[in-house]
């Protein structure tokens, strides 16, 4: 029997067994940012340890950085302090830091791939749950806690339990107006927010194979929202074409050799899986959330479910969600008024996301009741969007075009909801209080669905608002 990609990467990076039954696994690439990593440098200092492989760690600043005025010192003194601690630590330990205005700063999960640091067949970790994003390249990418950041800094390894692997095949063809975000929300809706516990997800099937790398990143990004420890897609020609010519990818003969090696990591045709799930991609509708977990989602044409249909604490969770969201069971989700529209984040803050929106909003106007912001995922995304004039299309339509960062995905910078505002958001979490107000409400959706909601002032079907024709 052949091996799946997860097993191949695991075997390649195995250092050995540990006494408690776990295994020690080498980490090829370690990414750090200012929220979860500065404390780890303090822990190293307490133990008088050094960074073992500084050339394998790269730093950026994303969570706390303002998206309007990024001049130093930041207006928030605590944000400034976190930035200073990371800056000092990386300098002291010889770690490359993608500083603001370096041309390479951005959200950690946008920066790694666009620089070509993220490559097939490697192990990647970062003190951030959305590290699963990098799995789009056919690598094993893990979100970790701060003590594990310490472990990796000190040893370049992690103590790990092996995962089971679930293959999720998305078959068929996506309808016009249905995007990678709809696919991932649909998968989570079907399998639940804890359906992936104990698993790595391997995404496959015609729909996944047809996706661009940026779309694949959107799918892998949300693996963690389905409870999976990581998610990946087998590397193929799409992967190699994306990587060719990237700053940190070998060129010439080195690239050809790397490509042959990368291709070898793809799961064997007769690989074993612990579970296989098949999802009909042709049946997926533009999907939005109605509640406070990413699994509380529905197709745009559907009605909000009735908690009475559920049992026990699940019923309670649904009732609490409806109360928090101020929504009614059995009401359509379309037509729900919004106050804020946010396009950005590690889920949907890449060039193709802004391109897709620019294509449909040109010549249209954001509703006067809506505050709309577009936040590129990185300086490179910003530069590329500006070169194409996308920022002008956004601002002409009534969006603010901001500087790169995590922004309103988790509102650790000044971009926050106020009171119980409703936000149509291209981000990844609709948890209570997620976007900076303890009563703020989030409705997750794709970037073009956010654009449709921004223009209508209410949740709407982008296919109707933008008259998207089915092409076949």
């Amino acid at each position: 029997m052949g091996k799946n990609l997860y097993q191949k990467v695991w075997d390649d990076h195995l250092v050995g067994p540990l006494e408690n039954g776990q295994y020690q696994i080498f980490m090829g690439l370690h990414l750090i940012h200012e929220v979860t990593s500065p404390q780890a440098f303090g822990m190293l200092k307490d133990k008088d340890l050094k960074v073992a492989y500084p050339g394998r760690t790269f730093a950026t600043v994303d969570h706390i950085i303002p998206t309007d005025d990024q001049s130093r010192p930041f207006s928030d003194p605590m944000a400034e302090r976190m930035m200073a601690v990371l800056s000092d630590a990386t300098e002291m330990h010889g770690i490359e830091f993608f500083q603001p205005n370096s041309g390479s700063q951005g959200i950690v999960h946008v920066v790694g791939p666009e620089l070509g640091l993220t490559q097939p067949g490697i192990t990647i970790c970062c003190g951030d749950s959305h590290t699963s994003t990098h799995g789009a390249f056919g690598c094993i990418a893990l979100g970790i806690g701060t003590s594990q950041v310490r472990d990796v800094l000190a040893s370049q390894t992690l103590a790990m339990d092996p995962l089971k692997v679930r293959r999720i095949e998305v078959t068929g063809t996506l309808s016009t107006g249905v995007t990678a975000k709809d696919v991932t929300l649909h998968i989570i809706r079907m399998l639940g927010v804890n359906g992936g516990v104990g698993y790595a997800y391997e995404y496959a099937g015609a729909v996944i194979e047809a996706m661009t790398m940026e779309a694949r990143m959107t799918v892998c990004n949300m693996s963690i929202e389905g409870g999976a420890r990581c998610g990946y897609i087998n590397p193929d020609e799409t992967t190699f074409a994306y990587l060719k010519g990237r700053e940190r990818v070998p060129s010439g003969a080195g690239f050809d050799a790397a490509k042959r090696r990368w291709a070898g990591y793809a799961s064997d045709p007769d690989a074993h899986y612990d579970d296989v799930v098949v999802i009909d991609g042709s049946a997926i509708e533009p999907t939005v959330t109605w509640g406070v977990t990413p699994a509380q989602a529905l197709g745009i044409g559907e009605r909000i479910p009735d908690p009475a249909a559920a049992e026990g604490l699940d019923q309670e969770l649904m009732s609490d969600a409806l109360r928090y969201m101020q929504l009614e069971a059995d009401a359509p989700i379309a037509g729900t008024k919004i106050d804020v529209a946010f396009i950005g984040s590690c889920t949907n803050g890449r060039l193709s996301d802004f391109q897709a929106v620019a294509d449909v909003i040109e010549g249209r106007q954001v509703a006067s009741s809506v505050r709309a912001i577009a936040v590129p995922g990185s300086e490179k995304v910003d530069q590329a969007a500006r070169a194409l004039g996308l920022h002008n299309i956004f601002t002409a339509a009534g969006f603010e075009w901001r500087k790169p960062g995590c922004s309103m995905c988790l509102a650790m910078n000044p971009d926050k909801l106020v009171g119980d505002e409703v936000c149509a958001s291209s981000s990844n979490r609709n948890f209570m209080g997620r976007q900076g107000s303890s009563t703020g409400r989030t409705i997750l959706m794709s970037p073009i669905m956010v654009a449709a909601a921004a223009i209508q002032g209410a949740v709407a079907d982008a296919r109707d608002v933008f008259q998207l024709e089915q092409t076949s």
């Binding site: 990076h13 250092v15 979860t36 620089l115 992690l158 927010v193 804890n194 516990v197 650790m412 209570m432």
Partner: protein, 200 residues
């Protein structure tokens, strides 16, 4: 009498499925460069309104002050990888978490901090939660070796992830020292890999 394997203390039941780490510690409290001050911020937006007035959350009930064992429901600790969540629980005073299931990153973070995550199936957990409500002053006696829990003269059973249980039984819940021992083996893997670092 608390040691790694035997735990005691009073309990509190925080009800809910899918309690995420944003609820355990809202993002604004992540603005810190050490974890030292996180205790009071635990479940802040569930416990206090926007004017910082108590909403009467169970964690603030006088009878549950000093509780060190938290009971919750399914998929506890889902969402963000922030270690700030288990750090806040620990600094608030919790030493053991009991739930039907745990999100994995959260579970790993708790283990490394020396805070066991006990998995208890629904029927027993519901009975235990109800009993804790009736006897907030009663003491738990938890034995990780036997995987038993005594409370108010009743015995309950739980399971643990094998590697986590082993880590507590052997006192190796923080893996760093063992990871560092393998220095040469790590170097050998680094050299064997067909890719190096990506610098410059």
């Amino acid at each position: 009498m608390n040691d790694l394997v035997k735990r005691s203390g009073r309990g509190v039941y925080v009800q809910g499925n899918d309690i995420d780490t944003d609820r355990i510690i809202p993002a604004r409290f992540l603005k810190c460069v050490t974890f030292d001050e996180l205790g009071p911020a635990l479940f802040y937006d569930e416990r206090f309104d926007t004017q910082d007035v108590s909403k009467g959350h169970i964690l603030d009930a006088p009878v549950h002050q000093g509780a060190s064992i938290m009971i919750s429901d399914t998929n506890f600790g889902c969402g963000s990888s922030r270690e700030h969540a288990p750090q806040a629980l620990q600094k608030f005073g919790f030493e053991v978490i009991i739930a039907e299931s745990f999100a994995e990153i959260f579970h790993g973070n708790c283990t490394t901090l020396g805070m066991p995550c006990l998995i208890m199936e629904k029927t027993q957990r519901k009975a235990l939660a109800a009993l804790v409500g009736h006897h907030p002053d009663a003491e738990f006696l938890i034995d990780l070796q036997a995987q038993t829990l005594m409370f108010a003269n009743e015995q309950f059973s739980f399971t643990m992830k094998d590697s986590a249980r082993e880590a507590f039984l052997t006192g190796r819940f923080d893996p760093l020292d063992e990871l560092l021992v393998a220095k040469d083996a790590i170097q050998a893997v680094a050299a064997r890999l067909s890719y190096s670092d990506h610098s410059g």
